[in-house]
């Protein structure tokens, strides 16, 4: 018979010498050179796993060991065996327990009485291959979980019906000051600030304003946030995944700039309307005085108006300089 030439590292935890002998026989019948590690108790398995750094392909686990048995054994074995699949071997057919143990995370449940070389080989081969995918899936889940939990921007998942927080990431905890446990006790409504102000983003009908919310942190500080969200099924709940961008600082800058713009526009208006009035008078007077036909006395009469308008212009310019200094930052040279 053709025998598998791959090198399998197979841990067999079996205290019954007869059963072990049979297993070894079956294994050697289908695998050319299996590396069989024979252990006789849960304690021995524990010690072996602590001592070795060697990769194991599969664990064949007898369900009644002298120091541990049944469900307890399965649970603890799953705890200490990192990634290798576990195939349970038992002498007692117990269908409901078989189903339950598969639910706990073991890969297969085999009855010793039904066993032969072919069925054992098939189970070993199938479960090793299937486990590779399970491990990949677990790694992928971990990666996506990390993308959520380690995101530098606050993120959370909330139930769209109860508004309850279902999951929050580290950045959200740090930004809002609530621990994850505290967050899970809150609803989205609890972090919305009731404070009202005249921020145009909240009164305007601008298309973007629907994404902007006023939130309050645990310490009561109010922040403005730009919220982006997507629907996501979460443990059977209708939920939304929310990404939070704190724009408080940008808004503060925006407000300051808008205020400055208004003041600059005031100055521009003054330039055009107030400054130009006395200047236009001076220009008009100078135009009249330049007329060679005008008698000297008449020119002399006009001169005081020139002086008066010049003083007026001077006063206005001083006022504008003063105004400009008020709106520009202190350390700016005017």
């Amino acid at each position: 018979m053709h025998r598998d030439k791959k090198k399998y590292a197979i841990v067999v935890v079996e205290d019954n010498a007869g059963d072990f002998f049979l297993l070894q026989d079956y294994l050697e019948e289908t695998i050319l050179a299996p590396e069989i590690i024979h252990l006789e108790s849960f304690k021995a398995l524990e010690e072996y796993l602590t001592d070795t750094s060697k990769a194991i392909d599969i664990v064949l686990l007898d369900l009644s060991l002298p120091d541990k048995r049944g469900e307890e054994l399965i649970k603890e074995a799953l705890n200490i065996i990192a990634t290798a699949p576990i195939v349970v071997l038992t002498g007692y057919p117990d269908f409901s327990f078989a189903v339950k143990s598969l639910g706990l995370g073991i890969s297969d449940y085999l009855l010793k009485d039904d066993l032969n070389a072919a069925t054992l080989y098939k189970s070993i081969l199938y479960n090793i291959e299937r486990n590779k995918n399970v491990v990949k899936l677990k790694e992928s889940e971990q990666r996506y979980s990390d993308l959520f939990h380690l995101s530098p921007l606050p993120m959370w998942v909330y139930d769209t019906e109860t508004l309850q927080f279902l999951d929050v990431n580290l950045a959200a905890e740090q930004h809002y000051g609530y621990t994850a446990e505290e967050f899970l006790q809150l609803t989205v409504a609890d972090i919305i600030s009731e404070v009202t102000d005249d921020n145009p983003l909240f009164t305007g009908t601008a298309g973007e304003s629907k994404n902007i919310f006023r939130h309050k942190k645990k310490n009561g500080a109010v922040i403005y946030v730009d919220i982006r969200s997507n629907r996501i099924p979460y443990n059977g709940n209708k939920a939304e995944l929310v990404l939070v961008n704190d724009i408080t600082e940008s808004l503060t800058y925006l407000k300051a700039i808008e205020q400055q713009n208004k003041q600059l526009m005031d100055i521009a208006w003054t330039q055009s309307h107030v400054v130009r009035a006395p200047l236009a008078r001076i220009m008009g007077l100078v135009y009249l005085i330049s007329d060679e036909e005008m008698p000297l006395e008449e020119k002399t009469e006009l001169l005081p108006y020139v002086t008066q308008s010049a003083h007026e212009l001077d006063a206005i310019i001083r006022k504008i300089v003063k105004q400009s200094k008020l709106i520009l930052p202190k350390d700016t040279d005017v």
Partner: protein, 124 residues
Amino acid sequence: MSTPQVFIVDDDPVALMILKKVLAKCDVFPAPLSFVNGKQMLEHLQKSFSVTGRYVIFLDINMPVMNGWEFLEAASAFANRDTITVYLVTSSTDETDHNKAQSYPLVAKFLSKPITLDMLNDLQ
């Protein structure tokens, strides 16, 4: 065509005097009458307005009581360009004022102070 009656409306006495002196040198706009706000101008027109008359008004924009815009609104109700020709005279160089002036059919031209003889001659 009858000789137009000429008016100057400006609250600034110096500006008023300058414009009067320039107009005096120009033959086209003789013997101007002056008012210090739009309301006085409007009241004068309401008393003496005739649809066969010709009126030329040098109108300042920024004035107390009734400014140039308000006067234009009121005058548009009873007069058109066949009777009243308005020259908006202002020290403003503001674009928005300039654009706004174009929305009043009575306004023939937007003039930035100071008004010179050349500018007046160009109006003919």
